[in-house]
């Protein structure tokens, strides 16, 4: 039987990125995927006629440009197109918009509060300062503060140096920032409820936390630290849907000689004599390799796909305690035409922006209360976009695809599995909310795919359908992600690695975990490093 140099488990964007960099270093790599399609949560699915849905992740900003460039993804069909702005519809019939043009955004903010409009520049600089601090660490392994390895000490000194460079006041500010809630953070700058509500969404997307929960200011940063072509904080669409990201990385992987196998779900990672030996597939086949890299989340990897006896007890316990909670759902909708939003002027550029329907901090927090009560938000935070206004490839001309990310949506309803009636009721809640601001919306609906965290887990495999593979709270970031002592992509068994979003620097379609893990693996194997360095953010 053939022995590979490495097996990567899971053909999501991180698994594929990892596999591509390993293959480029000359390793014989096979990437196995349980579904009959690749991409994990970065996919474009053809579920209705000529419509293509980005049915999990739906926008692109965090994808590291260094990786994009190194893997020459444009040659494999990837094109990321920025979109501008955002809008929050208000119950009183008004709306608050933000625009590509900074002066237009200023005027709009001043319409609500000149104080806030002027405060925005400081807010923006303060947030950018934190972005600048963190962005530098995205394409490097988080140093272990307890380690005496030269590489750890060097990196700690580098981080420490950057921190000290900020000066005393800003060091205090940074420490506060990393632990405070998004609501507190926004309160320091703004007085207008709808403006705070509009900004606070980025602090809770993908988490099982509310806007008043400590640590959500960092989550806001996680959504701001990306870029499109050097415009930090910008978001874009992958042309053809998010599947274009995975497909292009797969193209780079295959161009480097890598092998992809779909419908090859892993039942178990095989350990022999304390060393990783390969994987046993669900169909009974075995594939052998001295290196197995799991792109699955940390819980699925260790609790579902490994023999408990192969793992240290305390490690196992910590994995069990890792916070990875279902909090978001998704509606993917095929539309017969463009819905109108009478609050907006005809032809407004805000149709191209992300749309939201919660206009107060009170309503944001109430949405979270429902989740704590074990049910979906009756008045949810929806991040809605119509990508087909930008992308001509995802629906026939004049028809549209609407992507609705919905929060909050629990993994289980009051502690038990979702019923199909409940799933429909969840979908109806979202559709009703949008329809309140768009009277013709419901009549245009041709098809809806409703996805609860339970559906996402069943199909993609992510535990509880958590989009980040685990909460982005301080106790689960940097050298603590996923588990202290195991934050450098190496598992507790020789030859076993993690490369998914459960590892540093976390979730989002960033590809950094996959790339960072590849660097560590190549270093262990004494192979040429193929992973690019950070561009640097001077």
């Amino acid at each position: 039987m053939k022995t590979y140099d490495a097996i990567v488990v899971g053909a999501g964007h991180n698994g594929l990125t990892n596999a591509a960099f390993l293959a480029r270093a000359g390793l014989d790599v096979v990437c196995v995927e349980k579904n009959d399609y690749i991409g994990g949560a970065a996919v474009s699915r053809n579920l209705y006629k000529d419509w293509w849905y980005s049915n999990c992740s739906y926008v692109c900003s965090l994808l590291r440009p260094e990786i994009y460039r190194a893997l020459e993804l444009h040659k494999h069909g990837l094109q990321v197109t920025p979109y501008g702005g955002s809008v929050t519809f208000m119950e009183n019939g008004d709306y608050y918009g933000s625009y590509q043009d900074a002066e237009v955004s200023y005027r709009e903010m001043a319409r609500f509060s000149r104080h806030d409009a002027d405060a925005y520049k400081t807010y923006s600089a303060d947030t950018m300062r934190q972005c600048r601090f963190i962005r530098d660490f995205l394409l490097s392994t988080a140093p272990d503060p307890t380690s005496f390895k030269p590489s750890d000490i060097k990196e700690l000194i580098r981080i420490g140096g950057k921190f000290l460079d900020m000066g005393e006041d800003r060091m205090y500010e940074t420490i506060r920032f990393w632990t405070m809630s998004v609501a507190e953070y926004l309160d320091e700058y703004f007085e207008t409820d709808v403006i705070k509500a509009a900004f606070s969404g980025s602090g809770i997307i993908g988490t099982a936390l509310g806007i008043h929960s400590p640590g959500t200011a960092y989550v806001l940063l996680h959504h701001y630290m990306g870029e499109v072509d050097g415009n930090v904080g910008s978001w874009g669409f992958a042309r053809g849907g998010m599947g274009a990201v995975s497909n292009s990385i797969a193209g780079a992987f295959q161009a480097a000689g890598g092998e992809l196998r779909t419908e090859a779900g892993v039942d178990r990672i095989i350990v022999k004599n304390g060393k990783t030996a390969g994987v046993a597939l669900e169909n009974g086949d075995e594939i052998s390799a001295p290196v197995v890299v799991s792109a699955m989340d940390v819980k699925r990897t260790f609790l579902n796909c490994m023999d408990k006896d192969d793992l240290p007890e305390s490690f196992y316990k910590r994995v069990e305690n890792f916070k990875i909670r279902g909090s978001s759902g998704k509606l993917n909708i095929a539309l017969d035409g463009l819905p109108t939003f009478p609050a907006l002027p005809e032809g407004s550029s805000l149709y191209h922006s992300d749309m939201h329907f919660i206009d107060s901090m009170e309503r944001m927090e109430r949405a979270y209360d429902d989740w704590k009560d074990g049910t979906w938000s009756r008045d949810p935070y929806v991040d809605m976009l119509i990508p087909t206004l930008n992308d001509p490839t995802m629906a026939p001309p004049g028809k549209h695809f609407m992507s609705c990310f919905v929060q909050y949506c629990p993994y289980q309803v009051e502690g038990r599995a979702w019923t199909s009636e409940e799933r429909d009721a969840f979908g109806a809640t979202v559709i009703d909310q949008i329809a309140r601001y768009s009277p013709d919306f419901k009549d245009l609906i041709l098809h809806v795919e409703i996805r609860t965290p339970q559906d996402i887990e069943a199909e993609i495999g992510i535990t509880e359908g958590n989009i980040f593979h685990g909460e982005l709270t301080m106790d689960q970031l940097l050298f603590n992600r996923p588990v202290p002592g195991y934050a450098q992509y190496r598992g507790p068994v020789d030859g076993l690695y993690l490369c998914g979003s459960s590892t540093h620097p976390g979730g989002g379609v960033m590809a950094a975990p996959g790339a960072n893990a590849a660097r560590e693996i190549l270093s262990d194997l004494k192979r040429r490093n193929t992973v690019p360095e950070n561009f640097g953010d001077d």
Binding site: P82, P392, G398, D538
Partner: protein, 398 residues
């Protein structure tokens, strides 16, 4: 005789009313006397209209000449360096023409409209040179810049837009092909050409029909993401496509003052346009000699490390810059579609061989403070952006 005052201020192209109606940022410059938009709405969005949907650019100010007469082919073969006999009616040729020293006067496109009837289209004005070069040939050269309104319609959905507009037969039109169609009873020439390196067309029509053409185009394009764009977006696209721009990447030889600042086609990487098998053409002797003895300069396409555009950078042969400066960057950009830091430049030979490395000195400003970085750059020989859709025939719908 009554004197006639010339037009003062800027001229307006036949599409001006439509451009002005879409303009929201009021950023214009002059292009050969005409008002031309830098940008109409947002440069980024305009750029992505080229790469993602359909972008419309008013190129009426391009200089145009009509060349007819029994000797028109012989004349053009004498004028330009490539073999025009290969360019059949209905085809378009990119070409350069040189002075007697083999230095490039300009580059442009030559449209073989009908048997023996040509349009030469260039950035600069060359009537005097064209007339001088015509001595002894039975040709008529007519300046027709104002007589032809022209639009570039570029991007992956451009074919769908033109098809929706009712233009027929474009399925078969190959890159560098042209066809004569009818639009509201007037002849409309459509060529599959452009300055973006993407799928795209150029539309040429009588100025009286310009506004009607624009309106029909935008009506058809409504569902295909059509947008009017300005020159800034186009400039980025042309660098990605690796196309040269006069006054950026070379100077028209007949307008230079100093010695050594003009370039030959060989130095511009355009040797493929020089056909030494032709018995005679302007500059042939000098170019043959340069071919034997070697060129002084080499145009390079650079893939530069990092993400800071190398605007106006010096190029060095090594990182320490101790071997002295070997050239400079002429056009630079961060390429949004390739996610590459790209540039065109000119270096002294023997530097600049494809696959070799050079170093680029980049200055960039962050919060008022200037920084300097030496960045390694690889010389590449292919255009940075050359998607399959550019040459697919028939073109895909998007």
């Amino acid at each position: 005789m009554k004197s006639q005052a010339v037009h003062q201020g800027r001229l307006k192209t036949p599409f001006y009313s439509r451009l002005a109606a879409l303009d929201t940022v009021n950023e214009w410059h002059q292009w050969k006397g005409y008002s031309s938009a830098d940008s109409l709405f947002c440069e980024d969005i305009e750029y992505f209209a080229i790469r993602n949907a359909t972008a419309v650019f008013d190129l009426t100010p391009m200089t145009k000449y009509r060349i007819t007469g029994p000797d028109s082919l012989d004349y053009l073969n004498r004028l330009v360096t490539r073999d025009m006999a290969k360019i059949r009616p209905g085809r378009v040729a990119y070409a350069v023409w040189c002075d007697d020293q083999g230095q490039v006067i300009d580059d442009g496109t030559i449209f073989h409209l009908r048997d023996g009837e040509y349009r030469l289209c260039s950035q600069e004005r060359h009537f005097a040179w064209l007339k001088t070069a015509a001595i002894g040939f039975d040709v008529t050269i007519r300046h027709e810049t104002e007589d032809v309104a022209a639009l570039a319609v570029q991007g992956p959905t451009s074919f769908s837009v033109l098809k929706t507009m009712g233009l027929e037969g474009l399925e078969e039109l190959k890159p560098f092909g042209l066809t004569h169609l009818k639009f509201q009873g007037t002849e409309l020439m459509v060529s599959r050409t452009g300055f973006t390196g993407d799928l795209g067309y150029e539309l040429w029509i009588d100025p009286d029909k310009a506004e009607a053409l624009w309106d029909a185009l935008f009506e058809a394009g409504k569902l295909f993401g059509i947008r009017a764009i300005g020159t800034h977006a186009l400039e980025l696209a042309r660098i990605e496509a690796g196309f040269l721009a006069a006054y950026m990447d070379f100077l028209p030889a007949d307008e230079t003052v100093r010695t050594g600042v003009s370039r030959s086609p060989l130095e511009l990487g355009l040797e493929w346009l020089v056909d030494f098998k032709k018995p005679n053409f302007n500059g042939r002797r000098a170019l043959a000699e340069e071919k034997r003895n070697g060129s002084t300069w080499q145009l390079v396409k650079l893939d530069i490390e990092g993400n800071k555009p190398a605007h106006h950078s010096y190029i060095f042969g090594n990182e320490k810059a101790n071997k002295g400066q070997i050239g400079f960057v002429t056009s630079a950009a961060w390429s949004p579609v390739c996610k590459q830091n790209i540039a065109l430049g000119t270096v002294r030979t023997p530097y600049g061989k494809p696959g070799s490395s050079v170093w680029v000195e980049i200055y960039y400003q962050r919060e008022m403070h200037w920084n300097r970085k030496m960045a390694k750059a690889t010389v590449v020989d292919k255009p940075f952006w050359f998607p399959p859709r550019r040459s697919a025939t028939p073109p895909a719908p998007y």
